[in-house]
Symmetry: C2
């Protein structure tokens, strides 16, 4: 017995750690997202996990949000990134002179938030972001491009979504038009939670902050509008001639026309004026994609347009538009809902079982098969029976049995573990058969 | 002018951040390594970046090495991982009951070491590890498997290496055989640095620690042996009948035979008894791959056999063998040496330039091309001339000009930016031409 005190192996809570068979599925999703981004002419960026606190906390004037992992190392105040947007802003501000615009980058990486761990909330999660950043200006067609990528990504993932799109200028302008312009931010906070608190409570809150009864009704009515772009736009376009409101209408019309030209499936998006998105930095287009068959997943992808990406770091005006998918959360939800592809306990196509002193022959065979299929040797010191049992448990599709006779005859016993059929074949024919059944 | 004080955008030193065009090349290398690991029947594991300090610092009894990024969050003492081996040990110890062995996992991820920043040293770097872990026992053929993966990985990367292989039992046993067994660790420290300090200084240090003159000579002589396995083994196998020494000889003979059976190129590895590797946890096979054409790169891949992976966390015996590639450092060295593939400023195959009011037509075309090639629209509000200049600078191979006539005729002007040739083609023929030249 060991004299040494053992340390109980444990993992921090709120950190996803998948068994390898599931990690393969996760990695496949990453690959699909990456392919769509890259195929859409976005280039990869990989910023460090750690940044100066001064940079990451610029927004809050340096004060540390309790969610952020912050610490001191030597003389430096350091934070772990909590999103991929601030690092993008820092990167663009640092390199603006040598870059070409619009800058289309994607980044797929882990971000860290030390929030209270609870079901479906992770402290470390993979975020998949794609953004288009312009210098001085960026036309609205860029917004449509991002929206079409949302469509493509979820098609590639085989997931049916409905993307709820809006434009914050609509509510900004409408508040102004109603003479409630000064209360806009407070009003938006209330309108953003109508679904949570209900229409009546929303009215009550609006009245409490001094919005007139008539205006409260009107604000709630417009916020609840959701449907086909053309329908909703024709309902609202004459509601007000406020310039901000009309800017929103105009941008939504443009987007509607671009999405049609891009061939985005019209069943996969709606104009939903209730989409507000809390973050203050969105200034025009906003969107949240949901899964109609799984409303409990809430938003699986969100994003929008911001007027100025890096205002804390540079005087250059850098408007942008982007989308973000929280993949760790999505994967977890899909797993709980039984929506993942079948989990295969192994990626092995063919396992060789040596019988007697045939290991070198098995290694040559592995070397022969290995370039084409995933081949493994069970070289453990265990009985044949237990090896077959193990292969079955692992769902390995083919087993090759290599005994001393086989070394001489160069004909090997190949067993199809699914059908139970057994063949005596040359290595070339073994390879053909296994390859054919992949 | 902005009233707000700007924060100078800056990045922590010692953290690699590639421009996107180079990041593509880095990602390609990751992809190639991943493919070899996965094709060799290793499964992916992705442990968290953060772990309990108690776990990561188990080896040092909880004392924080100055290299480690450690901090407190709430009540928890937390560290950022500084390698992928301790997290693997923690994972296996936690899940040993439900796993099947040998467990073959790869992990490609960032690790963090807050060391003094200097050229070629990174505080955040991508490590690419593959390990085979057994329960109770793991035959030596697993070591050969790892060595053949080293060969395959560097072939996949197009890099010529020479893998220097040894077995620590040789020197362990030889020290014992010479009656210097008690001084073994100190002796190994000296022998490990012969190349750095020179033969004479090594002798001096050995004499100072009380090793006899004759033994010092013998130890240095054996340590300098390097060459073909069969040659070196026949030179040394009768040097001593010490059981540890003979265990080393036996294992090396086995490995030699397995590597031949696996078809590993004999010009790509040597038996080099000077390979010791500082880390105490290696107990048998050790190896360091170097690049003969770039000796200044030093070790580009290393690894070896350890008797017990997770002794701090479990009483179960978990022998293993693995390899590790420090990709960030390797990439940086290759970049400095001009060894990277050509850096292409963009991944765009075809850029559409709208002339006049043709944006919707351009979007339809983009949607048509986009499934097959990487297509982008230059929708910026700039002159045609400046757009062409930009396309040239970005080395975009093809430009499609879409004016109002083209919208009517459905025939478009395609320009090959390399040859300067210009064609008038249908969209189908445009796609064929661009696809053919990818």
């Amino acid at each position: 017995m060991s004299e040494k005190r053992l340390i109980t192996p444990r993992k921090l809570s709120g950190f996803m750690e998948l068994e390898p068979a599931k990690q393969i599925l996760f990695d496949k999703m990453v690959e699909k997202i990456k392919n769509v981004y890259s195929q859409s002419a976005f280039m990869p960026l990989d910023t460090p996990v750690l940044e100066y606190s001064e940079i990451l906390l610029a927004k809050s004037g340096g004060s540390i949000d309790k969610e952020v992992y912050a610490f001191k190392k030597g003389d430096n105040d350091i934070c772990m990134r909590y999103d991929l947007t601030v690092p993008l802003a820092r990167y663009v501000a640092m390199n603006v002179g040598s870059m070409s615009f619009p800058f289309k980058r994607y980044q797929i990486g882990k971000v860290f938030r030390g929030e209270k761990a609870q079901k479906g909330r992770f402290r470390e999660f993979v975020q998949c972001d794609a953004d288009i950043v312009g210098l001085d200006e960026l036309p609205i067609v860029a917004d449509a491009e991002c929206l079409s990528i949302v469509d493509k990504v979820f098609k590639a993932l085989g997931l049916k979504i409905l993307n709820h799109i809006s434009n914050r200028n609509i509510l900004f302008g409408y508040c102004e038009a109603l003479g409630e312009g000064e209360k806009t931010s407070d009003i938006l906070v209330v309108l953003d939670k109508i679904n949570k608190i209900g229409k009546e409570n929303a009215v009550k809150e609006l009245l409490e902050m001094g919005v007139s009864s008539e205006n409260s009704q009107k604000l709630i009515e417009i916020t609840l509008k959701c449907g086909k772009f053309d329908d909703i736009l024709s309902e609202i376009e004459n509601l007000s001639d406020n310039p901000t409101f009309q800017k929103g209408v105009g941008e939504l019309k443009e987007i509607s026309s671009y999405l049609k030209a891009l061939g985005v499936d019209e069943n996969c998006y709606v104009l939903d004026l209730g989409i507000i998105r809390g973050q203050n930095y969105y200034t025009g287009t906003v969107f949240e994609a949901m899964m109609p068959e799984h409303p409990e997943f809430l938003t699986v992808c969100g994003g929008g347009r911001y007027d100025n990406l890096a205002g804390y770091f540079t005087d250059k005006k850098l408007p942008g538009v982007g989308l973000s998918i929280g993949l760790t959360r999505l994967f977890d939800l899909m797993d709980s809902a039984g929506m993942l592809e079948e989990v295969k306990p192994t990626n092995i196509d063919l396992q060789i079982i040596p019988m007697g002193d045939t290991l070198n022959e098995c290694l040559s065979l592995k070397s022969y098969f290995g370039g084409t299929i995933v081949c493994d040797i069970n070289y453990e010191n265990r009985s044949f029976k237990s090896k077959m049992k193990e292969a079955n448990k692992k769902q390995i599709p083919f087993i090759l049995i290599v005994g001393e006779n086989e070394v001489t005859s160069k004909l090997y016993s190949l067993k199809n573990m699914i059908t139970g059929e057994q063949y005596t074949l040359s290595k070339e024919d073994c390879l053909k058969m296994v390859e054919g059944k992949r």
